[in-house]
């Protein structure tokens, strides 16, 4: 393609079925805490 290049092909929608085990860390976003953006959490699976 001339104008567009795929860098990452995501499949986030599929994880609606496969995910949700809840093993991962909880993630506070406030200034006073560990404060992680959810998107940067590691998956425990």
């Amino acid at each position: 393609m001339k104008h567009i290049q795929v860098v990452i092909s995501g499949k986030l929608q599929q994880t609606a079925k496969t995910g949700g085990c809840g093993s991962c860390q909880s993630s506070c976003q406030s200034a006073c805490k560990t404060s992680c953006t959810v998107g940067n959490q590691a998956c425990e699976k």
């Binding site: 567009i4 795929v6 929608q13 953006t37």
Partner: protein, 450 residues
Amino acid sequence: MQNITANELAKIHWFAVPDGFLLLDINSGSVLRIDEDTANCLERLQAGEQPLADDAEILAELAELKQQGLLFSDDAYQDKYEPPAPVLKSLCLNVCHDCDLRCRYCFASTGSFGGKRARMSFEVGAAALDYLLEHSGKRRFLEVDFFGGEPLLNINVVKQLVAYGREREKEYGKTLRFTFTTNCVGLTPEISAWAEAENVSVVLSHDGRPEVHDRQRVFANDKGSYQLVTEHIKQFLAQNSRGNAIVRGTYTAFNKDFCEDIKHWLDLGFPRLSMEPAVELDGERCLHESDLPQLKEEYWKLAKLFEQRRVDGQPFEFFHFKLDLKHGPCLPKRLTGCGAGYEYLVVTPEGELYPCHQFVGREGFKMGDLADGITEHGQKLSEQFRQAHVYNKKSCRVCWARFFCSGGCHANAELFHHDIMQPYELGCQISQMRLECAIWLAVKEVEQCS
């Protein structure tokens, strides 16, 4: 010529980065590099204009990518989302409502949370751990954060509780992960060695350059804590071979050039970092909408520094730039966010339960206590928090960042709008600008690897 509908445009987000333009397909998480012509074409369509004749090639490429399922993907839930059952997985123990610093921006009223200064007893702490183990259903990994005030002022109880937890977790076949968040004033070599031996993660508070740190993080006599705290952190990190400690700071209107504070940390040899905006309603430290252009510039400065150091083989970690676009968390996780009020609770020294550490002492947010459990009012609150997810919040539903941010901080929303359903806008804008930097950095990493 094919065209793109407004509905499709709402499913993507494109933005400028230092070396061009990126496009995020919101629902799939795909990221594409687009050229300037494509960005301009999308801008025109967004403005309701008709595509130019020259746009045909671009539109054909977009259509092809749609065919491949990489663009304009649909939302997996589309209004059918039901948040997970309220099962506890993490507890914050406010082991000490007191502090040996008087940081000027402290949300906890310098440790007391607006109430009396108090310390948690071992009995209350042990009952809290039992409560977590009992109410965590099938969850295997549970988190416990010792918080305050300053938890090290009650370190003996903290140590006893870690030992108690290590015993009890076996009976339940679960794993407790402990963390403490400290101002580092009382961080002795002995405590550092204990944390290392017990695999306790640590969040070390420090604000960066001496003048910045000492302006906010002062002792009761108004003297700055920089020198002492910096020595303690160095000493701690020298023993921390596990790499489970992070230095975190808070920036205010006084140091909107916080990239300089991060450089200062790097000079000190601190490798894992986080820097957060202070959230205040008003006053001289308060950040305003008019600061956003400068903050945006600052985050980009930081992103470029991050990239440069990575290329030079001297990488560092910055929490908000740690974005794994390929193997990030699943969609359900991205929708639950912090889980305050139903997956995460805080326990006060007296054993009272609140939705999270920021709600402690806020009128109407007490959910119950360890002795009698969650009250009827607490159950209603829990349900309100559970339902405060991105699909139910008007601004989040249409926000491109929703699957990364997962709806922002309820405590900030409540502070600014008295409504957990209405996110704090300045926080949203900061999250969005950080995310654009993080996505660019993730793209750079992928490109370097291939």
